[in-house]
Amino acid sequence: MSSITTREAPRGFSGAEYLTCLIGIVWREGLRFLHQRERFVSALVRPLVWLFIFAAGFRQVLGISIIPPYETYILYEVYIAPGLMAMIQLFNGMQSSLSMVYDREMGNMRTLLVSPLPRGFLLFCKLLAGTAVSLLQVYAFLFIAWFWDITPPPSGYLTVLPALILSGLMLGSLGMLISSGIKQLENFAGVMNFVIFPMFFASSALYPLWRVQEGSPYLYYVCEANPFTHAVELIRFALYGQINWISLAVVVICTIVFMIGAILAYDPSRGLARRGPAGGEG
């Protein structure tokens, strides 16, 4: 029998408790990913279709001149590989946010949100877990792409990792921010069309921006302002052991802004509170 006669002094949380929580959330996200094999397959098929079919078709149409970080003429497949890696992360970020909307509708999200640890930390763990899943997908893509003559320097597989983590966090927090504003799962498809496709096509993923500038100066500025462009360029340079400082700065700033926005949106006195009763009829 336990009873409390006076209020206990707050004891806070230890570093070990925070770490346990982080590992637990990443572990759960990994398990869910393993259980959804079709998600893994579709995450790989999508960029591979672009690589095998689209790039093969466009190889003769789009010539790529020597632009940094490349030091020689490259095949179109080589050019779009970083864009496709970022695309994997973009889709994964949106899929994670879709699952957050689903979890919220189904009630699973409450398990996370009623944890006593700070909510900002919980959401950050969730983002990190989503990013970890996207890394698995990207490296599986790179492995297959290697057989398609996409062969960056061996050290590039390592140097690209921090860039992938950063871009994964940026795109994941963007997805989380979007998910906080979606009331129903059905509304998500529309958001995907308004976010994923414009972000992907108005970027340097499929064509260098100097080509875009030749065609439409206005579109060029849109592409330059698109955070996804900078995620692509950050990955592209990192894959060849270089740093694109402007892209790094943009991605870091966007990550911070999106993350703060997502945490505020999931603050109990803001985001969720606006939506009416949280399930249950009572």
Binding site: S2, I4, R7, T20, L31, R32, M106, T111, P116, G280
Partner: protein
Amino acid sequence: MTSPVPITEPREAPGSHPATVPALSIDGISHSYGPRRALMEVSFNVQPASFTALLGLNGAGKSTLFSLITRLFGIQSGRVSIFGHDVSKSPGEALRLLGVVFQPRTLDLDLSLTQNLLYHAALHGISRREAAARSAELLGRIGLSERAGSKVRDLSGGQMRRLEIARALLHRPRLLLLDEPTVGLDVKARADIISHVRQLVTEQGIGVLWATHLFDEILPGDDLVVLHQGKVLAQGPMSRVIAEAGAQDVNTAFMRLTGTQTMPGGGA
């Protein structure tokens, strides 16, 4: 801000000190969804080692109140504290003393029973070894040890509820909130769950707030809070609420207080 007034005399459990801090204190809580007022100046306490039934029709505001206690919603006015810890000011300290079973299922259907429990333990910062030991113990207590590795989606509704209660107890809370936990269950599963929760009150001294609209889940020794259209109409020991309503039983008392008609099956 008024000071919270206990609805029951503090109970003295054998071998324990008198409880002076309520397990749960709801003080002047109001909440609106835009122009619609869901809760109006709701105040009551739940004592440790007590079973308090929150009785109300669908739409009375029970789930909104639960969302405020668990910090899913921000508190617009009033104060909620758990063993003296203000939910708004020190949510970590308050929530670590709280176990919750929500009305909708919140289990991950594609994970096993053990995996669901381990995930919950991680969210409370409980180490893997400790979590594994507690999970095994709790699964044994609810008679689901054999199913530990099965996927949750293969369980029956009653088994899922038992698992949710076990999960809510994993971090050893001192207050347990259950939002209509027997909805959709058969008679035996309902009886098992109610009996299990009542055992937690008597054996472990846990304070329980049990939201329901079913009269037959309330016993004469329980504390009662009648919530209707966002307002507390009556509160106190069940016998007192019935007597003050000039009724013979809780069903009639509820109808007199709320001006509603009874529903078949003992439901309000």
